[in-house]
Symmetry: C3
Amino acid sequence: MWNESGNQWPMNIYSYYVGYNPPTSVNPIPRFPRIHNNAFLSPFTYIVGNVTIENNTYVGPFVSIRADEGTPFYVGSNSNLQDGVILHGLKNKYMEKDNKRYSIYIGNGVSCAHGSLIHGPSRIDDNVFIGFKAIVYNARVAEGCFISSGAVVTNGVELKPNSFVPPGANIDTQEKADRLSPVPKTEEEFAIEVQRVNQEFPASYSLYFGKSKCTCGLSC
Amino acid sequence: MWNESGNQWPMNIYSYYVGYNPPTSVNPIPRFPRIHNNAFLSPFTYIVGNVTIENNTYVGPFVSIRADEGTPFYVGSNSNLQDGVILHGLKNKYMEKDNKRYSIYIGNGVSCAHGSLIHGPSRIDDNVFIGFKAIVYNARVAEGCFISSGAVVTNGVELKPNSFVPPGANIDTQEKADRLSPVPKTEEEFAIEVQRVNQEFPASYSLYFGKSKCTCGLSC
Amino acid sequence: MWNESGNQWPMNIYSYYVGYNPPTSVNPIPRFPRIHNNAFLSPFTYIVGNVTIENNTYVGPFVSIRADEGTPFYVGSNSNLQDGVILHGLKNKYMEKDNKRYSIYIGNGVSCAHGSLIHGPSRIDDNVFIGFKAIVYNARVAEGCFISSGAVVTNGVELKPNSFVPPGANIDTQEKADRLSPVPKTEEEFAIEVQRVNQEFPASYSLYFGKSKCTCGLSC
């Protein structure tokens, strides 16, 4: 059917979408993402609105960073948002970091593994690991925490630095959050290894597609 | 590597895929989706087959609406299918609504939150909220139900109007379905708020991309 | 905004991305996927690196097959990777099959249902069914197993042939794996039916887009 027009379908192309949030009553002013030259956006990344992505951060395919309701979003340096990760936030709800307000704040050296969902308001400090399909929503996750696969951290809880959330756990009260054990050595080393691998990606992937990508999202 | 051809990769484009289901022994006749002019399809939406999407419904990025097995699918007005939502159905299994048969029927004002999966045969009546990564499969969900994050509703169960499914619950018998409590006030208000935000999206997003989108999926 | 350039956005196109893995310290040599002419890649499929996909295998939209860390990946004939499936692997970890080493080995007639995640090192033998949003990670799954929705199989376990993993189960010790029941008749028949439907897709979908797709991913 699509061939009728004479076009060559399917096409093998590398495309993503980076654009303004649409003006709504919640966010009347359209904002364009700020993406560091040395961050890397994979094919089929989607990013809209007031989003900052810092140096050497890897964004995988099918990642949605949709700052069209809760806003702004910040993702620090040397972090990775792997395949299928979703960032979205509730309107008018914020977490503070250094006296600034964010819908989603993600620090440096954070790994968000395949299929994880970060929903604002949420603040995730440096060197946190978030496992496969885990959910962080309305939560503050301090430095060095390890959230295992399929776990949920929510309901306004605050995780102390270096807390370990076991696979599939549902941390929805501060009491549960306070009882968490420190991150075991094996998981700590695993998180460092994941960082090591992912921090090579922005430069190595970029090498294949030219170096001069400006914040407009277009390669020029 | 891709640069060798002289093409400018990567490209920042807004593209989706809307097309016919392929003819198979189950569905020998290719059908094209019917999408209301005032619905909004995000970049990287995928829709094939006998699918109806009504007025002012928002379809997020990485949403797959694949009516190539179970069919037809219907999505009413003022609903939203958020990032990563999947609609698919088993062949030759149906739910009835107003004496018509559907693989998937979704009413008006329904919110399907990030990463939720609706698998036919399923019928979801008006003003239902379906949470993050929840699964509805072979189920009938009456008006005003609230299905929390990570919950599963399946095995042919019917939820009564205004039933509340707690986070992570597995509702796989009618007995469990019948024991559910009514939706708490907080969740009810939350669902209304999500509707309010999402109902602004079709018009505001469309404003950025021209208004005359016909059902062929191409802007003309 | 995007309209300013006079371009016609949005575009209804069929595009995927098939490309080399980027050279890193782990995988210094870029490799291009080998995809059988009679496999089918949906719009918005993403595949990089040393990946083999055999005859008559269906790859759905938003599937990520990312052999940029663990490698190689193999997917046999008549298998299906449905919407949103992710394949990725840890570096330098392997499973053996016929004296060869794989990060991910998937046999013939395997169904990976919507949103499932296969993370290497993993080996999945013929005629296995993997349910909605299930996770297989560091595991060996023998012929004919049925892994239900939302289940997790991990921690180096080996499932015996024809093992049944119930919905949401967490099989993370060999003891748990050894106690599993055989696949019930209903699930066995269900898995066969899913195969029947999906094995029609590659030919029927391909019919719509021309037949001569070579392994470069471009239709010529």
